[in-house]
Each structure stands twice: as C-alpha cells, then as structure tokens.
Amino acid sequence: MKYLLATTLLAFAAPAFADEQPVDLKPAPGLEAVNANCGGCHSLDYVRMNAPFLSADGWKAEVGKMRNAFGAPIADADAAVIQKYLTENYGAN
C-alpha cells in the first residue's frame, strides 16, 4: 500500500516524456522500493548505466547522495533495502 501510494503520487509529479520507454530492472527482493523511491525523479536506466562497477559502499554513497544532496524523500528503512538491491543486482562482480 505504501509503495502504491508513493508510485501514484510520483506518477502525477513526474514529467511525461513522450519517447521514454520503460526500464525493467532485475526482478529481485527490493525492486519495489527502487521503483517507488527512485523512479519519480529519474528513469531507472541510471542504475544500469552505472553497472556493474560500484561496491556496496559505492551504491551506499549514491543513495546517500540522492537523499542528502538531492533531497530525495527516502525513509531509512527503504534506503537500506535499495542499497542492498543495487549492490546484489548491479554491483561490482
């Protein structure tokens, strides 16, 4: 419910780009949190573009930058889930 609400709000806020195509990240635990928290401000190709070379600390720094520098309203619990998802699915291997 929480994610559904967030997605709905962001769907209204996000600008519509006529040529934008959906970016489907790997289905894995945490993807819901990524879609709900990240996709409102930017398309998710930002994730794939930056893979696979970031360590767990690297992805933690990126999530931290989104929250602290860019003001993304991501709850602590969600941030932890997102970092884990990104590290496990798009981290350095």
Partner: protein, 402 residues
C-alpha cells in the same frame, strides 16, 4: 536493450566499417565503457533531434555518435542533450518567456522580452559546448555519473547579444564578484537544489560571453536551451545555462550546490589562465576551462582498410588558445608525425585535421595527439579525479589493413 543488442550483433565485425551511419557507430561503442551502459545505449530521435545515442530517458541525456563529428560544425539535430533535472519547459510554456536581471550588486531590476533582446546589437561566435564529464565512461576505474562516451560535445555558430551589454542595462555596482544564472528547467522534488550557476564578473564582462538565441542560423532546439542560453566559450558546458530566465549580479560568491559541491576538481591539477578564485576552497576548484583534446573520426576502431594506405581524419580543440598542431603516431608513441590542419573556424572551435597513412598490411594502431598554442598537450595517462572530468587521454584506433 534488445534492440541495441540486435543492432550490435548485426553490425559488429567487418560490416561495421562498411556501414556508415549512426547505428554502425553506436554498434562500435568503446568496449572500455561500462557493460551496463553498452547494453543500455540505443539510437533514438527525441523531439527535434535525429539519431542520438540515448544514455538516460529522464532527465534526458543523449550523446552525439561519432558520425555527428564528420564536419567541424555539429548540426542542431545531432547536437548532444544534457539535463540534470527532469522538469523541462515546453515551447508553449516558453511562449511568453522573459529574462530578468538584478541582484544585490546591480543598480536596478530590468526585464527583457525576446524582442527586447533581439533589438540589442547582435554578435556571433563559433564555440564548442562540451560537458565536463565527456568521456567519463572511459575512466579506469569507472566513476559513477552519466557514463558519457565521446559525444557529450558539439561545435556551433552561436548568435546573440553580449552578456555585458545586458548587464549594462541593469548596471553593475562596485563590489560585484560574480554573475549568477538560472534557467526554467527544474526538479521533480522541491528539496532538490535548483540548477543555478555562477561565473566570475570578469568572465561575464568578456566580449566572448553571449546570451544566444540562435544556433547555426536557427532558433535553439528546445533541448539545447530554447529560447536563450548562455554561451561561455572555452569553458565546460556546465556554465552554458539553458532556458535562461534570471541573471543576478552578486557581491558574494554564490554557494549553491552546483557550485560549492558539484563540478569540482582537485585544486591545481588542471591548468587555467583564468582561475575562478572566488569559488576555490582549500582542496578543490570549480571545473572551468576545457583541456586540449582530439578525436579520431575515421576510420572506425576495428575497421578493415585497403592495403594501399588510408586517410585518418579527426577534430582537435582546447579551451580557447587554439590548436598549434596535431600529431599522429603509428608506433605506439615512439615517434610522431605532423597531421595536416584543416579550416580554422576560430580559437574556440573544432579544428579538423587529417593524416595519410602509407601503404601497409596487418594490424595498424593509430594514435592522435593535439597540442594547443600554449604548449598544453594530451597526456598518455588519464589524470584521475573523483567526478570523472576532463578526460583527454591520447585516443587510438586499430584497423586491419590489407
């Protein structure tokens, strides 16, 4: 992703060189780029654009494939697109566009319509807009960000009014140190810092700095800043503000995110004639002047060429000193031979060059190195910096001759 993969599998190999055009160039993406980016990148034509390499949909970031650089002037519909924030005004929203000028170090507030701006004395300059992070994707090790290949740059003839003429309308008070500029693009979330930049007052008063309303003889494309963008020849694209709506003359250094935190380089690592000292801190400086660089536009890496010799072509540029020479090496940098420089479109423009490789067979690796008139030359090794700016390592292509 599927489309890009298909195109690559069709076009890679011997067919790539034979098939000119953007898809072939996209197919020939440098293997040094992150694997994720190489899967993600696809040729697309967003509104007003044709055959650009899509890096991200939103905010839109599209680079010019190599075939957009076969002429020293970059066509408007092939010119790269770079946005930090996703809310981009539409042309309809910009129909009643106006520009206001003020600030604590301005004598008065002034508001100008597009017609007002176009009534001021016009001037033209040919200059390169290049993202500071162009070639970030080629950094080893990789650094996070928009993973640009070679095409976050373009060279155009910009027409507009001198910024100093517009500032004179408002009047500059003694004690002014910087001029801040912001545009109509904005973020989705209110807490995101607005995209606003500053330049030193002496740069703002420079004859070369324009508020441009035309690009290569036409209105600016929406995605390149319609109706008016700032032109700061010789400096990285971050200062070339798009959709400019507000200019302020200020008595204190602007401390917004995009100056104080973003677009910084380690202090003293990259030389410049005009340091931006009001924005320096103990350890870092703002990224400003373009570094000397070159690009090989033909032949493509991995191409097959005839055994009777072949022509190497490319572009060279720097931050405004002008190009003194371009040299080519066919022996991994042991010896260098002069390339022939082409038409000089001005010290801020791409300088075309060419070199005739003599008859030969087998694998031939061509290195190209540009040197500016101030003696600065391209390095053999990457100058590492955390944000991935100023990549100007000597570039190479390897071809199969015979």
């Amino acid at each position: 992703m599927l489309a890009a993969t298909t195109r690559r599998s069709v076009l890679l190999g011997s067919a790539a060189a034979a098939l000119a055009g953007p898809r072939a160039f996209a197919a020939a993406l440098n293997p040094a780029l992150p694997a994720g980016l190489r899967e993600e990148a696809v040729i697309e034509s967003p509104a007003g654009k044709r055959d650009l390499l899509k890096l991200t949909w939103r905010p839109p970031n599209y680079e010019t494939p190599l075939d957009g650089f076969t002429t020293p002037i970059t066509a408007n519909d092939r010119f790269f697109v770079r946005y930090h924030l996703a809310n981009i005004p539409t042309k309809a929203e910009l129909a009643n566009w106006s520009l206001s000028i003020g600030g604590d170090a301005a004598e008065q507030e002034v508001k100008l319509s597009l017609a007002d701006l176009k009534a001021l004395p016009a001037t033209e300059i040919t200059a390169i807009c290049q993202c500071a992070g162009n070639r970030r994707g080629l950094f080893t090790p990789h650094v996070p960000g928009v993973e640009w290949g070679i095409g976050a740059m373009g060279n155009a003839v910009w027409r507009g009014v001198r910024l100093k003429d517009v500032l004179a309308k408002a009047g500059v008070k003694p004690g002014a140190v910087e001029v801040t500029v912001r545009g109509a693009d904005s973020a989705v979330v209110e807490a995101t810092p607005i995209f606003k930049k500053s330049i030193p007052l002496d740069r703002a008063m420079d004859d070369t700095v324009l508020l441009a309303y035309a690009m290569n003889g036409e209105d600016l494309p929406l995605l390149n800043g319609y109706p008016v963008r700032l032109i700061v020849p010789g400096w990285t694209g971050t200062y070339w503000m798009k959709h400019v709506t507000r200019i302020e003359v200020v008595s204190k250094p602007f401390d917004g995110f995009w100056m104080a935190k973003g677009y910084r380089v380690p202090k003293g690592v990259f030389g410049t004639d005009r340091p931006f000292t009001s924005q320096d801190n103990e350890k870092t400086s703002p990224v400003t002047e373009l570094v000397v660089n070159s690009l090989i536009t033909a032949p493509l890496d991995g191409a097959k060429v005839g055994g009777a010799g072949f022509a190497v072509q490319g572009l060279a540029w720097d931050g405004g000193h002008g190009i003194a020479r371009v040299e080519v090496s066919l022996d991994a940098g042991a010896t260098w031979q002069a390339a022939t420089l082409g038409e000089d479109l001005g010290r801020f423009a791409f300088r075309p060059w060419s070199f005739a490789v003599p008859a030969g067979s087998g694998s031939i690796t061509v290195l190209a190195r540009a040197t500016a008139t101030n003696g600065a030359t391209q390095p053999a090794k990457l100058v590492a910096n955390p944000a991935g700016y100023h990549h100007n390592v000597i570039s190479t292509v390897t071809v199969a001759a015979g």
